[in-house]
Point group: C2
Chain length 351, copies 2
């Protein structure tokens, strides 16, 4: 199937399920709406699943890894060799995402979609390399349009494959030294907000490096002239492989009727690319948290999404998304397990 045909099949969630879920929630032993956003989440999950009483979902965090030619411009506090080192840390279970996915009862699926390193075949690493690092966007495009489409198709393919394996909740995550740089470029292009206002400190750069980062992003946009209405064009000109994989995972989740918890700044840039391709995809997205990265909020507002957590996180990997999955699980448990007024013999409001 062509990507544009696949995207055309994504439909908004069915509002009638929201009403069905609301009726059940209003009959549980609590004042109406008193569980606030937990009720909002449960209703949307019921609508996504088209199931009045969904099972507790099997969960996976997809951590896409890719390198960025723009790391040569000194935009990150860490050297590029850290990307493959961290991939091995994920595979060996020692990273933040391993701990927090374990806490959430989710599996971590590590995907090499664009790392500038030749990994051996190993258990726990999904090898779907499209590029060996992107081009330096300060000097030219990140990749070709065909490569960008391949990255998105990797994400779609994984969504279909793991849906087939019984997973019913996905989260996005990423690793890629310098990847806040293309992400800030994407926010600025899509929202029209100036680069300096949507660029942050990434993993922790100083004032001089920050000014340099803003200049590099401005030059990359000026040089590559991405088309702000065309997600694939933006992805190819100033994006990244892992950002494309995340966009594809979001599209694939929507196609499969599976909720996707979108992690922080870089993941949301991927979600925004998917949203440009089909706005209905946002019905399936749960934004995990409000990142410390300043451009994050602008993207969420653009898609009219409100984050679940606000814990000053800026690690990426899918860590915030894994934590947010525990809240979504809680919302489904409340919906499934609480007693009704009738069952518990409790008097209703105004009685």
């Amino acid at each position: 199937m062509e990507l544009k045909d696949m995207v055309g099949n994504i439909k908004p969630v069915d509002g009638s399920y929201i009403e069905i879920a609301q009726r059940r929630l209003d009959n549980l032993t609590k004042p109406r709406d008193s569980l606030g956003r937990l009720e909002e989440f449960a209703k949307r999950l019921v609508a996504i699943y088209k199931n009045e009483m969904p099972d507790m979902p099997k969960k996976a965090v997809f951590t896409f890894a890719g390198d960025h030619g723009v790391a040569d411009e000194g935009v990150s506090a860490f050297p590029a060799e850290v990307t493959p080192q961290m991939v091995l840390n994920f595979v060996n279970g020692g990273a933040g995402i391993n701990v927090l996915a374990g806490h959430a009862g989710a599996d971590v699926l590590v995907v090499d979609i664009g790392v500038n390193y030749n990994f051996e075949d190993m258990k726990g690493l999904i090898r779907r390399k499209v590029v060996k690092g992107t081009g330096n966007i300060a000097k030219g495009p990140a990749m070709t349009r065909g490569q960008a489409e391949d990255c998105v198709n990797v994400g779609i393919g994984l969504a279909r494959e793991y849906s087939g394996k019984g997973y019913m909740m996905f989260a996005t995550g990423e690793m890629g030294i310098a990847n806040t740089t293309p992400s800030s470029a994407i926010v600025s292009v899509v929202t029209g907000i100036e680069v300096a206002a949507v660029t942050g400190r990434g993993t922790g750069i100083d004032d001089d490096a920050f000014r340099n980062k803003v200049r590099v992003i401005e030059e990359a946009i000026e040089l590559n002239r991405p088309d702000r209405m065309d997600g694939l064009n933006i992805l190819s000109k100033i994006g990244g492989a892992e950002i494309g994989g995340i966009a594809g995972l979001c599209l694939g989740a929507a196609e499969q009727g599976i909720p996707v918890v979108v992690d922080g700044f870089i993941s949301t840039a991927g979600a925004l690319i998917a949203y440009l391709m089909e706005p209905a995809v946002s019905d399936y997205m749960f934004p995990a948290h409000n990142s410390v990265e300043v451009g994050h909020r602008a993207m969420l507002e653009h898609m009219n999404l409100r984050p679940i957590l606000d814990l000053d996180l800026r690690l990426g990997e899918g860590t915030g998304a894994a934590l947010a999955m525990t809240i979504l699980d809680a919302s489904l448990k409340v919906y499934r397990e609480m007693a009704t007024f009738g069952e518990a013999g409790v008097s209703e409001e105004g009685a």
Copy 2:
């Protein structure tokens, strides 16, 4: 031991443990501080436990139930009979707190400290009744100073007893029809903010009932003249039995070196009473969430505490605290389980 002697033994946490924990966190495979508030929580837990590598804690939510004479004034959307009905719902496992404590891996301990109903002896109900409902604060004091002290001692006693049983993390919760009314009265008296600005809709009253609620609280303060510097005086004049139990649990937790996750509006009123008795108790408190109730924020600011979650909750029972416990558990897991740079062979920042 006299209450004032016990309170005098509560000490601020030992800052040297904060530094010990910081050193470990900075050596884990992540950019410094990139796990934001999770790192803040882990550091404070290490300091509370005075243990460089704490075990994962056994957890308990204490849901204190009490009735309020002021319910006669029409300040709640639910009838007073709902208090004992909900106590039975807690004991039978059907309420929101049962579901969310189960999600957090915490036990629910239901405490009758002031319900206007004679419960049979039953498994799962801790019977520590001090009053059979408080007096109507619009007509006189809620209880005597001796009864208020007894309520606080119930909380302290439970903290000691369950500390002895190996529990290492407590959460507060409550049930009591009309108990947002004394809570708003407490906020107004302690912070000096006018009643209308710290009074909310409780479980869901309309405009007329809201105006009546504000008037009732103003009259209760005018009539009882609580001393804003004296926690026990405030508790006896315009408080409630479950609010006193929560104050005691907070004091007892601090005495025992156990963190206490403080739920929403009513629980925070209890925490505020404890804080008036000994400000150092706030070192042991983790405020669970930012309640919809408008007076909640004023109390948190008074104690210089920042909530963990913001999910528009207003159910009480300890539901927000149970959810917040899952975040604290996550912070400890990160601290305990992540690989260090050396272990994982990952290059450090600026390398």
